[in-house]
Assembly symmetry: C2
Homo-oligomer: 134 residues x 2
């Protein structure tokens, strides 16, 4: 996997810059239309491929909420997200650790929270064994 200093193709650079320069948590489509303003011939496939790669490179984050397309976030600092189940907007939550009580987050954001999703991702014991062997 390429490091943070690897030179990126023009298209990849543009995609990264677009995702980084907004707090709107854009979808792939959003990124595509913004990119077209600078590079009218860029293709959707290129946008998707680069979003995927940048995400694997650890330079942007994917945000998946149910029933909506994947969104992307260029802010790699530790923070969480809150979505309005009515209008679908996604906003950042900062300055609070995951330990913050839901009450506190409600006060901070003025949202009426009804669901908390907490998910961990990692490598399970069996797969850890497998990768040691191979």
């Amino acid at each position: 996997m390429e490091g943070h200093n690897t030179k990126l193709s023009k298209q990849r650079e543009l995609v990264l810059q677009i995702v980084r320069s907004t707090k709107m948590h854009p979808t792939a489509e959003d990124v595509y239309y913004k990119a077209k303003k600078t590079m009218p011939r860029i293709s959707m496939g290129t946008v998707y491929r680069n979003l995927r790669l940048l995400s694997k490179m650890g330079r942007i984050k994917e945000i998946n909420f149910p029933d909506s397309p994947t969104r992307f976030d260029g802010d790699m600092r530790d923070h969480y997200h809150i979505r309005c189940s009515e209008c679908g907007r996604i906003e950042d939550i900062s300055h609070f650790s995951p330990r913050a009580a839901v009450d506190e987050i409600e006060k901070l954001t003025m949202y009426q929270i009804h669901t908390v999703h907490i998910k961990y991702e990692g490598i399970c014991p069996e797969c850890q064994k497998k990768s040691k062997i191979s």
Copy 2:
């Protein structure tokens, strides 16, 4: 929205029972094939529609991880999920509050955790206003 005591159609009842009777966090497809064993003529559309409805009724939960189809969980008790990024399996985490340190969860599960997703869902201030007016 119907309550917990509303009588469900046979198909809806079956879908609910299948999701409840496993800890495998099945996909819609999984549910469909299990359902066919009891009701060979049940259709995919029916399975999807009922999963969606049951989820909206608050009788089952949806689990969305990136790059994989939606999974369903009939266990409505407070608990969290952990996915292996290698093999994709999803397991439950119980007995720990969201406050549990990642370290503790690693010890408990033997996973090597590399990502924590925390998401809140609720209704934003603007939408709260809107629903008061209408």
